[in-house]
Symmetry: C2
Subunit: 376 residues, 2 copies
Amino acid sequence: MTPKLARFLDSGAYATPAVAVDLDRVAANFAALHAALPDAAIYYAVKANPAAPILDRLAGLGSRFDAASIEEIRACLAAGADPGTISFGNTVKKQSAIAEAHEHGVELFAFDSGEELAKLAQAAPGAKVYCRLSVSQSGADWPLSRKFGTSADHARDLLIEARDLGLIPHGVSFHVGSQQTGVGAYRTAIAQAAMVFTDLRARGIDLRLLNLGGGFPIRYREDVPPIETFGEAIMASVRAAFGNDLPDLLIEPGRAVVGDAGVAVSEVVLACARAEDGGRRWVYLDIGRFGGLAETEGEAIRYRISAPGIAGAATPAVIAGPSCDGVDVMYRDTGYRLPSALKAGDRVLIHDTGAYVTTYASQGFNGFPPPQEYYL
Amino acid sequence: MTPKLARFLDSGAYATPAVAVDLDRVAANFAALHAALPDAAIYYAVKANPAAPILDRLAGLGSRFDAASIEEIRACLAAGADPGTISFGNTVKKQSAIAEAHEHGVELFAFDSGEELAKLAQAAPGAKVYCRLSVSQSGADWPLSRKFGTSADHARDLLIEARDLGLIPHGVSFHVGSQQTGVGAYRTAIAQAAMVFTDLRARGIDLRLLNLGGGFPIRYREDVPPIETFGEAIMASVRAAFGNDLPDLLIEPGRAVVGDAGVAVSEVVLACARAEDGGRRWVYLDIGRFGGLAETEGEAIRYRISAPGIAGAATPAVIAGPSCDGVDVMYRDTGYRLPSALKAGDRVLIHDTGAYVTTYASQGFNGFPPPQEYYL
């Protein structure tokens, strides 16, 4: 908890549920990422938290932006970002969104299929494009499935096709999965990417960009390797695979920029023992899976939860959201413990909720509004 | 598809994703429920779709309302509902919400724990309360887990406690799970509830209310028993369990009132074969799990999807949402088929999406706004 967040929480000047983000911590994380990977351009993954104060602060620090939609691109432009610093990173885009981005001056686009390439050729002629590879995401707490990416062979063919369509085949990308705690995933992926560079050089195409994606982990309840470990492992793999002819490197951190800069405050709505659940204690909060904590699905992301000021021993608790929906249960199996004295009206903190919380919140499930947001 | 919805879709006067609801169909469903269970008061489960035009129409038809939150209660009052016709049905409520409801004149409250009862005694003195039983939900496509309800023995003790706290012990409720396709679940649950009535009569407490909950199924891809079958089975069970001294009956339908009155229109963003997924065809829509189709989690609710005007054979397809999130995949295993000619820019219809869609939609995940809503 940063001092600024602690002061805000002490002030009590907010209704729950609320999410507060310390912009100085955002800036510090950005600096730490730059220090760990000085050779890589940082494209902040806007989807992690697109709030204007965050985009403003990052734009001021010289960050670039990875956008998932035309709405996110508009938000970056509103924050003063140069369109030339925005990557349209979703490989699945409406043609109208591509056209609008292109009109705004966005030059860099992701793709992973021939169908997307055709849309790009039509709506963003002459744009720089990079092809997303499908790589192993083993080790990621929030993997991205087979929804994105293609094989190295197919990527090579598509990048040739891109040139033939009048686009600029600019590079390749991959994503090792979100909250990826292993550095090993990068080695294989970078080697795969390098093969595409080599193959294409033989075909007269000089790729420039290696987009290393995001997924850098932050500490929730368990320790993770520090960002320096990732920086070193990535650079060693890049040198091993590319020798002296290093490509332009790009990373797309989101969680690692804003995750631990935020804290959620929630009120306990009910705490009681459930005879029908073997006497287990259930704690119902005023934020749940549909109020922003969507990444608790399958108990994938395990947030640190504390109840400051509540004395007494901690006992096992199932932790659920406030809605009438039975799937709105955050933790049953992970083994959370909360003070046995916790009762309705008490406040709990859900830590490291700066990323992937506010935007997941439903617009009004069961009538509950999204959490209030505070940027400090 | 109702003629009114068909005309609306033909008009093209909307952007996608959109959800359109035929209010006449809502009224017809309300009438059908009343005809199937004429002895039960209908409390529309507002959480299914709280849009003002729906609440207005239902209030005009004499519907009562089951609300999950104070925000839903305010919406009902704004639609002209008499506070005496509103049940605050969430067993997990903030004390401030109870107090506000009580001030507005709401008289009927659910609970299932001693802790909630204490809040009700304090914030809604003299209110009518009913205790939710935990019953088997086997047969439900969207069960409500162990999050709610208690045993018949505990319910009996709690209802006595309610009287001692100055509340009016008014009855019991249960919920057999949402999209419950079996009528058998009601028989056991009603017998359990009747035992509580009998036990309490011996203790000098005359319960009046049997709240049968909601969960009545609608036809998605598979046939379900008609509502008449549920009505007959429920009334037979009630008569068997209560004899001639029938309690006041209450049902809380949501899906059965608005589900098949709505249709979602979505644009195909990308359709392509995924070599990395064994050559499977993926179709990416501009609505997904975080754009409202949350009940596709685990492929639980299997919507009927059609692509009118697209000719050609249907072939297997994985169906995914537009976001960069790997879990934003709606159907992989259910065996959906879509026309092989389907391509980016084409429109598909997702049928029977009037319930549990609009409110689940995230406020802006990946920058995508919630679907536009149209009430006809």
